[in-house]
């Protein structure tokens, strides 16, 4: 017992996922590509963590690296602790147990993630067969339950349908049903709504949130859409050039970003009430990962950059309650230009 220490009433529960020094490097003919360059974060039970960034930020590769979905010429190093087990050291069999049973993943394009020659029912039951031992009738019932859960009408008949017979939004629901078949504790979602229309995107995101509550899951959501982040995430990690540059609770991030890149992103997205004003874009383009300059990868495009930024790569440090930033000028940043809505 800790004697003199008073137990803090708001001590955080232990993280379900702990990532440290995750690095994913691709060896390409053009050079070595550090797609993920030292990522650390923790995920707590029941929260939605957003990984947001533009192309080349490494957000999708990070997600796939978590469950070792990266193939040669990619090499993944680092530590991913899932509920006290080290994923990087697991055998193939153990890994397969974890994937699909405890950690599930949904992707951006359901039409390519679903097998076009198997019925939807078959694909759900396939997952169930792998991770449970229900008999045939129980498998069917469970599959129907899952399709109901994700809001597909006439579930029992639809078990016999093929993926191409569903609309885009429905296919995404099917993919979610397959992902949830074995009651996972962690859902990895890689741009699940990017390819969907706005009203359907709204339905799918709210479905994911509802299911998260119902089934007690945690979610890591990868997206480039700041609106999606604002509406679904509890905490946000902003990624740039393969690194996390800022991490904060979502409200704090939007009201007062603590990294020049986050500020730049928020300023370049149109808000309301300032119609036809020039936006404040970030000059330049996302960097070439095979030829990163020394120092902060964002420095070439940053209006706050100083010499210190260009020489030493800043590390992600705690700068306040639950906030991390890799910007040495984090306390000098302006507020986002407009009140967003």
């Amino acid at each position: 017992m800790n004697g003199s220490n008073v137990a803090t009433p708001t001590s955080k529960p232990a993280p379900v996922l702990s990532v440290q020094e995750l690095r994913t490097v691709f060896h390409t003919p053009r050079g070595v590509l550090p797609a993920v360059d030292g990522v650390d974060f923790d995920l707590y039970p029941g929260e939605v963590l957003g990984l947001v960034g533009e192309s080349g930020s490494g957000k999708s590769v990070t997600l796939r690296s978590l469950v070792r979905l990266i193939r040669a010429p990619g090499v993944v190093t680092g530590s991913v602790r899932w509920q006290d087990r080290e994923i990087m050291h697991m055998s193939e069999d153990d890994l397969r147990e974890v994937r699909g049973a405890e950690i599930s993943m949904i992707f951006q394009e359901p039409i390519s993630a679903l097998n076009p020659v198997l019925t939807v029912g078959e694909q759900i039951k396939e997952t169930l067969r792998e991770h449970t031992n229900l008999n045939a009738r129980e498998l069917d019932d469970h599959a129907v339950q899952l399709l109901d859960l994700v809001g597909i009408p006439s579930a029992r008949q639809r078990l016999q349908s093929f993926p191409h017979q569903f609309s885009g939004g429905m296919r995404q629901r099917v993919m979610i049903a397959i992902a949830l078949a074995s009651n996972p504790k962690l859902l990895l979602a890689d741009e699940p709504t990017t390819a969907l229309d706005v009203t359907i995107q709204d339905q799918i995101l709210k479905l994911i949130l509802r299911l998260k509550e119902q089934l007690g899951m945690s979610v890591i959501l990868v997206t480039h859409d700041l609106g999606v982040v604002a509406q679904t995430c509890d905490r946000v990690a902003v990624m740039y050039a393969g690194r996390i540059v800022e991490m904060a609770p979502v409200v704090d991030l939007f009201q007062q970003p603590r990294h020049a890149y986050t500020l730049g992103l928020l300023n370049s997205v149109p808000g309301s009430g300032a119609n036809r004003q020039p936006l404040l874009p970030i000059p330049g383009s996302p960097p070439d990962l095979t030829a990163l300059p020394p120092g902060c990868p964002f420095a070439p495009r940053c209006s706050y950059a100083t010499d210190a930024c260009r020489t030493d790569r800043p590390s992600l440090v705690a700068i306040g309650a639950h906030r991390l930033s890799a910007c040495i000028h984090h306390d000098q940043l302006a507020l986002p230009r407009e009140v967003k809505s």
């Binding site: 936006l279 000059p283 330049g284």
Partner: protein, 284 residues
Amino acid sequence: MAATAAPAITTTRLRSRYRPNRTLLAGLCVLAILLVLAFFPSVIAPYSPTDFDYKAILQPPSWQHFFGTDNFGRDVFSRVIWATRIDMQIALFTTLFPFFFGSIVGAAAGFYGKWLDSLLNIISNIVVVFPFLVLVIAIVAFLGPGLTNMYIAVSVVGWVAYARLVRGEMLVQKQAEYALAARVMGFAPARIIGRHLLPNVIAPSIVYWMTAMSLGILLGASLGYLGLGAQPPTAEWGLMVADGKNFMVTAPWIATFPALALTIAGITFSLIGDGLADLLRPRR
């Protein structure tokens, strides 16, 4: 320019703009040698290809006859050299008309569609059903043996493959946004097809052309072997192999060296085709 800084362009190294292509270079080098031999055979070849020398029949390779002599006392080395001209011609003339005619028809069918495309489909379905060699032999048998008739026969049948290739590519590129943009720019169809679409659809056809050249030489060899191609006493590699088949045990050099020449020529065109395929692939 208000809020935008001048964006930096991705640096272009000269190397990446004109990709050095070893395959293509190798093929072109050997082709250059073959062309020199084709245009100036008498410079290299010590003997005439048709001179008999009854005192030197079936001689194995020696310093006087590098590749030996055949059953008429003709110097095999000289014959191989002189045959280069004939076989290069075969390569060219069996593919020239099919390439141009086939590509144009394919481009038109792909672009305009409708009856032209249907017609092309019918013709190509018919042609494809028959084995190529059988069709060619049939036509040559009808017209009579000889190189010219062989060129005609191959041309009549061979253009279809190019047409299919180009048509397929055209169907895809026709819908590409740069082609749509050209239409919205108000460009005439001739300009759109010629300046925009053709360069982007012709690549597979050109690569196929190279392969077809090596196949054409082999075809000439096959027909020569059957007596339907070049006629004796013309020096032609296929014919030489055919003549030499009777002496494979006693004087193998008569057939072997022309066969080697055929192989080298075939590989050359293959290398050029591969190299071109790499070069012509559009960069994204």
